[in-house]
């Protein structure tokens, strides 16, 4: 067979499966849920359709959400939904502080692991272990540690012993999951424990790709450790840092499992994330239309975050976007 003609066919064969799956399972649902967000679709039909059925009027309720009355009501409802506003705020807090904590500790650990020392290979494997735990399981483990009863939790026990040793009048006892302020902190810590290894892994790979000669040259010029870190390591790591922060940030936008297992969104809705709220609206309440509208709020937030990041990256000349 003519190789040019063969290639013309083969190039389609190679790419098509991926594109077809993404079109069918990603783009189509994406557009469809945009449509649903403008209807009052609920589990088992729409309110309008049910009313119509009750009054004996034929209504064209179809499978694809066709025949549903178009309405902007969901989006109006968004504005007055205070629970939604607090979930948006919580999600932003998780993303911002989560990324800051995880990046700074991850960078520190990567710097440490980039030094030669005995047993480094085994330590590298140990550092990766939290990433391998199911987030649900990590959350349960977190719950054991953040239990405020010193008879059950080693952490609370430690705090009690510490207060005894320091002869404090009141024992240090942190109401991790029951306090409005502490509950998000506990969730941030659990998420950080699990995902700092990811930051460390990638930043370490980036550091190891930096040629040794650059460091030698800087040392010859009399730069000290701090200067080398600030002027050489950090700037070279900038592109990969932006990438890794972007990836983690986008991942934290999706946080749900840790919250479900630890606080279930409470106290009140102090720890509820957008994804959890959408899930509850869709599955517990069956408000498909409204859940889709909230999902689009989340999508817009994610797009804003990613766009700002990509633009900053391009301005700084680092981020490869292809």
């Amino acid at each position: 067979m003519n190789t040019v003609r063969e290639d013309r066919i083969m190039k389609r064969v190679f790419l098509s499966p991926a594109v077809i799956i993404l079109l069918a399972l990603s783009i189509f649902p994406l557009l469809w849920s945009l449509g649903i967000s403008f209807t009052d679709m609920q589990r088992g039909g729409s309110t309008i359709a049910r009313q119509a059925a009750a009054e004996g009027i034929e209504s064209g309720v179809g499978f694809l959400g066709l025949g549903f009355e178009l309405t902007g009501r969901n989006y109006q409802r968004l504005l007055g939904d205070t629970r939604l506003h607090s979930t948006v705020r919580n999600t932003m807090i998780y993303v911002f502080f989560g990324v800051c904590i995880q990046y700074s500790i991850g960078l520190g650990l990567a710097t440490v692991l980039n030094q030669p020392f005995r047993g480094r290979n085994i330590v590298r494997v140990i550092f990766l272990m939290p990433m391998m735990m199911t987030p649900v399981a990590a959350a349960y483990t977190g719950r054991m540690f953040f239990d405020s009863n010193p008879l059950r939790s080693p952490l609370a026990h430690f705090f009690r012993e510490l207060s005894k040793a320091l002869q404090l009048e009141n024992n240090i006892s942190i109401p991790w999951f029951t306090d409005l302020g502490w509950a998000p902190v506990a969730i941030l810590i659990i998420d950080a424990w699990q995902w700092i290894p990811f930051m460390t892994l990638i930043l370490l790979a980036g550091m190891q790709a930096i040629p040794e000669d650059i460091y030698e040259a800087a040392r010859v010029d009399g730069a000290n450790v701090a200067q080398i870190f600030a002027r050489i390591t950090l700037p070279i790591l900038l592109p990969i840092s932006l990438t890794v922060i972007l990836i983690r940030g986008l991942e934290i936008f999706k946080i749900i499992d840790v919250i479900v297992v630890t606080t279930g969104g409470g106290p009140g809705s102090a720890t509820e994330s957008l994804t959890l709220y959408i899930f509850e609206q869709a599955l517990s309440n069956g408000n498909y239309g409204y859940a889709s509208a909230i999902a689009y709020v989340l999508l817009v937030l994610v797009i804003i975050f990613a766009t700002i990041f990509l633009a900053t990256g391009r301005r700084l000349g680092g981020l490869r976007t292809d």
Partner: protein, 299 residues
């Protein structure tokens, strides 16, 4: 390897490191190892504690603080055996199924994007645009798929089935697979395939017999990532399964409300769920690093 040479040079330098720096280094390493390992230790000990030792604790050291008992593990493989096995099998099947699909489809698309020039006229997209579109799908919030997937899966009868879970996880894994494999193939010289094709091999034969065997590290990295993602996934497993196809994460999360919180049993389950991932991770750690570097270091 260049890395080895570099490591050698660095270890030579380490002999000049001041003592306080070494001390600080080891202090940080030991501290962080403790942070990482202690929760695992706690899970391990909790899984062999009597309930009274869990609630009237904390008991740290087996045989000194408490008498370890194998009851909870016996329960998991005894009276609960049917449930444990079923959920473990469900996780395994959906994770392996989606891993195989993601690796195949990802490698094909990655190869296509690396070796051919595409131009989607109507959108004005070339290879880079297509690749960016594909990877951007990975970062869509899954929450947006909740409602359409519920409706679609109900319509096609995919709820609570293996194909349903496998399909969903494959969709989530493909973007990353394509991305890593494309970078990997970009770094692979074309000469070998070309000489094979001069000798009369078709494009497909060259891909199967020459390109794929050479890309083992990339394929392994993709496989590990896909497997771990599917193994640990919670939201879609919760949403798309009711009984038959429930996976380990959903089983673990569900321990909350079935019989009150039995920490000892949850700990045993958690350790069970971690085992396959740890085995993969430990065996293939170097592949992870290499595969990631292929995808990430270019930034």
């Amino acid at each position: 390897m260049a890395n080895k040479a570099k490591a050698k040079r660095r270890s030579w330098r380490s002999s000049r490191r001041p003592l306080w720096q070494s001390a600080l280094l080891y202090a940080i390493v030991v501290f962080w190892c403790f942070i990482v390992l202690f929760p695992f230790y706690w899970l391990g000990t909790t899984s062999v504690k009597r309930p009274i030792d869990v609630s009237r604790g904390p008991k740290y050291i087996p045989y000194r603080d408490f008498q370890p008992i194998p009851d909870h593990w016996d329960e998991m493989f005894g009276s609960q055996r049917e449930s444990t096995e079923r959920h473990f099998r469900n996780s395994l099947i959906s994770a392996i199924g989606s891993t195989i699909l993601s690796v195949i489809i990802g490698a094909m698309a990655g190869y296509g994007l690396s070796r051919f020039r595409y131009f989607w006229g109507r959108l004005g997209w070339d290879n880079d645009n297509i690749a960016f579109w594909i990877i951007s799908q990975r970062f869509l919030p899954p929450a947006i798929f909740i409602v359409p997937f519920l409706l679609l899966y109900n319509f096609f009868g995919l709820v609570d089935t293996y194909p349903g879970l496998i399909l969903a996880y494959t969709m989530f894994n493909i973007p990353f697979a394509v991305w890593i494999m494309r970078d990997f193939f970009d770094g692979l010289p074309v000469d070998l395939e070309e000489s094979a094709r001069v000798d009369g091999a078709t494009r497909w034969q060259a891909f199967m017999r020459i390109v794929l065997p050479l890309s083992a590290p990339g394929l392994v990295a993709v496989a590990i990532f896909s497997f771990i993602f599917a193994w640990n996934e919670y939201l879609f497993a919760l949403m798309l399964t009711n009984y038959q196809a429930i996976t380990m994460p959903v089983l673990i999360a569900g321990q909350n409300n079935t019989r009150g919180i039995e920490w000892w049993f949850i700990s045993a389950l958690t350790l069970m769920a971690v085992v396959p991932v740890i085995i993969m991770g430990l065996l293939l750690e170097r592949f992870i690093t290499r595969g990631l570097t292929a995808g990430a270091v270019k930034g």
